[in-house]
Homo-oligomer: 148 residues x 2
DNA sequence: AATGGTAATGAAAACCATTATCATTAATAA
DNA sequence: TTATTAATGATAATGGTTTTCATTACCATT
């Protein structure tokens, strides 16, 4: 697995080596739309690649977050979950979380309005609290179709 | 500690008993504006009430969240934090989180605009995904005054 | 006020996600 | 090819939270 790959340069730029486990994990995440925990990723990969340890999954996920290729999602219950971050600018999205069954729904409606609100908020909060906003997170809690 | 208290009926309504540890913990939270972890609450109470166990703090916090008297905040790093939920309608607020030092800043600017956005979002998402929104959370990540 | 049924408590152990350790392996530059 | 050193993976350790279980204390009913 030494073929040139579209993400290889991102690792170089971050003084990190392009390794087999990293490619496998990143490739796996890029092909799923699920929000998976480290253990779930480990288990999914185990059948095909039993050599990859859970520790390496954790370390790789941490690196991918630092590099900016994936998002780490921490909802109140259970383990952290991860999702591939699409490079397409219009695929920025947030989540609906079912408080009963735990279902996670992506949505990207209202991104225009949201951008307007967040931009305005960021500017004013920067002045008022001298706080430099880098990112934001919005989530809605409630009951999904099946659970209400 | 058997005096009638303004929160006592909330416990009754939830088939829960009004106990000394519960009153102490709730009273403590209602008097601080900090966002504290279970262990921090336990430690704060220990001097005056060394009889209250950490387990009871966890259980009481869980109950208070269920009853709706406090909020549980789970930022990615470290333990969950808790804050008293003000009964005043205009004190709904969100958080600015410093990614460097962990500082948490409350803000309640733009609540008008926010309400407009969230209401609109809730309505449309209810139709589109048949999802019944109960609550929402917004947070901004960045660098606080001291850390930039 | 006394009683009894049962929820709540607290100490300890268990649980579980995540991180640290360390000997071994493998990616990269020379 | 070789040397350097980052990355890996098995294992142990960590730390927040939950479970267990014997004891205590609410509180509805006498
Ligand atoms: Mn998503
Ligand atoms: Mn707050
Ligand atoms: Zn559901
Ligand atoms: Zn800071």
């Amino acid at each position: 697995m030494h073929s040139p790959h579209k993400w290889r340069h991102r690792f170089r730029a971050n003084v990190s080596r392009w390794t087999v486990p990293r490619e496998i994990i990143l490739d796996f995440l890029s092909r799923t739309s699920k929000h998976m925990s480290a253990k779930e990723i480990y288990a999914s990969l185990y059948r095909m690649y039993p050599g990859i340890g859970l520790t390496t999954v954790y370390r790789t996920l941490d690196l991918l977050v630092r590099i900016g290729l994936i998002n780490k999602l921490t909802f109140g219950d259970g383990p952290s979950r991860y999702e591939f971050k699409s490079e397409k600018k219009n695929e920025h999205h947030h989540h609906l979380l079912c408080t009963k069954c735990g279902r996670i729904i992506d949505y990207n409606d209202f991104m225009g309005e949201e951008l307007k609100l967040t931009k305005k908020t960021e500017e004013t909060l920067a002045k008022k609290y001298n706080f430099k906003v880098q990112d934001h997170n919005i989530e809605f809690y409630g009951l999904c179709e099946k659970c209400q």
